[in-house]
Amino acid sequence: MTGGMLFALTGIALFALGVAGVVLIDHLLRRILAFNLMGSGAFLVLVGLAQRNDVADPVPQAMVLTGIVVSVAATALALAMTRKYHALTGRLELPEDGDV
């Protein structure tokens, strides 16, 4: 068990936590946070697996760096849409399938 493998395993746990959050939580803000947790888990798996033999590989690191910036942009867009939704409807949960 190297440090990199530990990172990757932590990444899996974070990803699963995020998935559970996205599925179970109704509040949009917390759902966005859970989605970010999923992303962080995926990044950790990428970086961790790439250096599980204790020598870092620059290609996954560069890809994760790109991914982090894109995920920041996606989060900002999600927040902007959540704000708009709240301003229009006054709610922070999406309607369920049964609701009209």
Binding site: L24, R52, L77, A80, R83
Partner: protein, 217 residues
């Protein structure tokens, strides 16, 4: 019931993936050797920067395009109404922010310069600059943004435009984003400077445009 089902499935997922990962064979292709082998031709000596701006320049070009798109989308879903004036005015915080902001600019320039030979680069520098803007906004020294006027728009698209111009100019050499080894260093630096400016403005804009109050009280 649903909660129990989801949590069980997640645990099974974690277990299965962890077992698979622990049994994973060593990678068939080791990218470190080609990355380090060609490093002399990239104009920079730090492998991550070389991957970002040279080997996989497409990724970075598309990334700045995605950021630009995100900012445009944020601008379309927020309206121009609302209060932009800062409200928090705490003298201690403001003094600290006034001291910290110039230091953050220095750090950003250092990170940009250091990216050529050690961890650092345009993204980190842009993030520090954006953080400085957010800090100044939070202590009430910088108002939130309405939809950007011409100078700000030029700054926001500069990174993408410069990157795309360099890429297109190099089409004459046969392929997009194939830098000649002799000028690769200076071209990378040029692109990184423009990227830093645009990234800082875009990231700061994502915060400062969204941080406006919805209605005037």
């Amino acid at each position: 019931m649903r909660r129990f089902l989801v949590l069980t499935l997640c645990l099974v997922f974690v277990g299965a993936l962890a077992v698979a990962m622990l049994e994973l064979a060593p990678p068939a292709i080791d990218l470190r050797i080609p990355v380090h082998g060609q490093l002399a031709q990239t104009g920079v000596s730090h492998p991550v920067t070389a991957v970002l701006l040279n080997y996989r320049g497409y990724d970075t070009l598309l990334e700045i395009a995605v950021l630009l798109l995100a900012l445009l989308a944020v601008l379309t879903v927020t309206d121009d109404a609302g209060v932009t004036a800062p409200h928090a005015e705490h003298p201690v915080l403001q003094t600290l922010a006034r001291v910290a902001a110039p230091l953050m600019i220095v750090v950003a320039v250092y990170l940009l310069w250091a990216g050529a030979f050690r961890p650092g680069g345009a993204f980190q520098a842009g993030a520090v600059l954006a953080a400085a803007a957010v800090l100044l906004h939070l202590v009430g020294l910088l108002p939130g943004w309405r939809s950007p006027r011409l100078p700000l728009r030029i700054g926001i698209v500069a990174g993408f435009v410069v990157f795309l111009t360099v890429a297109t100019a190099l089409l004459a050499r046969g392929a997009l984003l194939t830098y000649p080894p002799a000028t690769a260093g200076i071209l990378t630096l040029l692109i990184e400077c423009a990227l830093t400016l645009s990234l800082a403005l875009i990231l700061a804009g994502l915060f400062l445009i969204l941080s406006r109050d919805e209605q005037a009280p």
